[in-house]
């Protein structure tokens, strides 16, 4: 089992996987709370144009993807503010434009091809270069700093934006910061999970964790734990079975979601019964021992 650590590319892939497992659910929980689970998908599409720009200009695609996807995320946030009824169409344009632009540019570039594109779309364990590891580590540190350091502020903004404004929090700035952080997370994740499936890793661990938790902090902690477990085991599975890691990671995450849901449903039912029983003043109990 441990022999896979002998391969330098696997060390890099596993490190990147852990960072993805931490950062994607840490950002995703705020998006889920704000009912914007789809935003990660949108940023993923836009990031593709950034990757292609990297190929075209010879720059590291991770950095060009950060810039382009951050711009896309800010644009999406602005559409959310000012967009009235047709905001959904504007977002759809951004999604399609990002995807089409990426495919167009990568085929115009001398080194790019659709084969390269596939590794960015679904992830690849063999392509995480040493420079990528540096970039991914720096970006992940930024994401952790924001999502954990500003946890109470971001929670307040995502839980009740109207109330957060009246506390005097800089709501617009925090919203923009969250959008940029989500964009950075997408680029952290794109090497291992791929741009098309990155959104799943933002959403599915959170959805799984909240089946079993009662509070925000617990949900955040459990979602990160689930994220790390599925990214690591999915990456290892991909090593042995030679499948894109994005696919195995997401299938695993959905499996965890199904298991937790199946286990948590009876627990939640029992808890609800206990609360209902406690609220009635006089009830005969069948668990009294004499």
């Amino acid at each position: 089992m441990l022999e896979i650590l002998d391969y330098a590319f696997m060390q890099r892939a596993l490190l990147a996987a852990v960072l993805v497992g931490i950062t994607a659910p840490a950002v995703g929980i705020y998006l889920v709370q704000r009912r914007q689970a789809i935003m990660g998908d949108g940023i993923g599409h836009v990031a593709l144009t950034g990757v292609a720009l990297g190929f075209l200009t010879g720059a590291n695609p991770v950095w060009t993807a950060v810039v382009v996807s951050a711009l896309g995320a800010i644009l999406m946030e602005l559409i959310r503010w000012y967009g009235k009824t047709r905001g959904d169409l504007a977002l759809a344009m951004l999604f399609y434009g990002g995807m089409a632009g990426g495919v167009l540019l990568i085929n115009l570039s001398p080194t790019g091809s659709n084969a390269n594109l596939t590794t960015y779309l679904f992830g690849s364990i063999t392509t995480v270069s040493p420079e990528d590891v540096v970039a991914i580590s720096l970006l992940a540190a930024f994401v952790v700093l924001i999502t954990l350091g500003l946890r109470r502020q971001l929670f307040a903004v995502c839980q009740d934006e109207e109330f957060a404004r009246v506390t005097g929090l800089p709501v617009r700035t925090l919203n923009l910061l969250l959008a940029v952080t989500a964009a950075v997370t997408v680029t952290v994740a794109m090497r291992v999970v791929g741009l098309l499936l990155v959104s799943a890793l933002m959403v599915v661990p959170v959805a799984a964790a909240q089946q079993a938790t009662r509070g925000f902090a617990m949900t955040l902690a459990l979602a990160i734990a689930i994220g790390v477990v599925v990214t690591l085991s999915g990456t290892v599975f991909s090593f042995y079975e030679n499948v894109p890691p994005g696919a195995s990671i997401v299938v695993l995450a959905i499996g965890v979601f199904a298991v937790i849901t199946a286990l948590a449903a009876p627990l939640a039912k029992r808890r609800a019964q206990r609360v209902a029983a406690a609220e009635e003043r006089c009830t005969l109990r069948d668990d009294v021992l004499v």
Binding site: Q33, E162, V166, T167, Q210
Partner: protein, 299 residues
């Protein structure tokens, strides 16, 4: 309910930031030229907590406030009453900066709204929405968010935790701190939202329909909480559908109808069935144009 209550993101404005194009032509260069109610923008201890004059607001092209005057003096408990669609929620939401005013003047504690930064002095209890948030949150987590008014950034200190605990005790929810808010009844949820506002230890409480959908037991607890706040010197502005158990606390009632103030004075006496103790105002309201002022108060 109707359009007035929808929280359109497009209409929302952030009071924490400066670039909004709303209200108060107040020239920045001449601080002494402020409105009569607040002579100087520097903190004036005697200034009225809320002074709204000639407020005009539109939602979706429809005029909702048509020149509303509303002053809340220090230590006063003012009820804002009116039928559905009369503009009472919009008036309150314009005061806290959620709805931009297209005309008129608003000062908070004597400072023009646009330059007001001291949000910790205001505790806001928005109308309870039934839509649950996607991610679970405990009672303590929600109430702690209210403390951000006092300490926006940086880790919470002992005083912050104590204030949150005190607020929870005030509304009788201290034994439910670890429960998810989604497991609470309507009345308990409302108590949590009030505790969230109280956690910031505000001087002015602004509450939008705090009694809507609240069971009788919670109504009594809320009335008791409010009584303590008033006794301690708090100023309160309440949007109410009817006076109910809060009636003895209320100094003054302002009744809105179609975006205009039609009564400003002592709370109107309840009559008939509405005067009975424990009367629960549940009958559905007809179209607002049927009998505009029949709020259960002035019939």
């Amino acid at each position: 309910m109707e359009t007035e209550k929808t929280r359109g993101a497009g209409q929302a404005r952030d009071p924490g930031e400066t670039e909004e194009p709303d209200i108060a032509p107040a020239p920045a260069a001449a601080p002494s030229a402020g409105p009569a109610a607040g002579p100087a923008p520097a903190a004036d201890p005697a200034a009225d907590p809320i002074s709204l004059r000639g407020a005009i607001a539109t939602l979706g092209g429809r005029p909702v406030l048509r020149g509303v005057d509303l002053t809340v003096r220090r230590g006063e408990v003012v009820a804002l009453l009116g039928a559905n669609g009369s503009g009472k929620s919009t008036a309150v939401r314009s005061i806290v900066g959620q709805v931009p005013l297209t005309g008129g003047e608003l000062t908070l504690f004597g400072i023009p709204r646009r330059r007001f930064r001291d949000w910790a002095r205001i505790g806001y209890v928005p109308q309870r929405t039934t839509a649950a948030s996607g991610v679970p949150a405990t009672v303590r987590e929600v109430v702690s968010a209210g403390r951000l008014a006092r300490r926006r950034f940086g880790p919470p200190r002992r005083a912050d935790r104590a204030a949150v605990q005190r607020a929870l005790e005030l509304v009788g929810m201290a034994d439910r701190v670890r429960d998810p808010v989604s497991a609470l009844s309507g009345g308990q949820h409302q108590r949590v939202l009030i505790a969230r506002a109280l956690a910031g230890e505000p001087e002015l409480l602004i509450m939008d329909e705090p009694m809507a959908g609240v069971d009788l037991a919670s109504q009594e607890i809320l009335a008791g909480t409010l009584r303590e706040q008033v006794a301690a010197g708090a100023t309160v502005l309440l949007v109410l559908h009817e006076l109910g158990p809060l009636e003895p606390l209320i100094d003054r009632a302002v009744v809105l109808r179609d975006g205009c103030v039609v009564h400003d004075g002592p709370p109107p006496k309840a009559v008939g069935q509405h005067a009975l103790p424990g009367h629960d105002h549940v009958h559905p309201h007809a179209a607002p144009d049927a009998e505009p002022i029949r709020t259960g108060l002035l019939t």
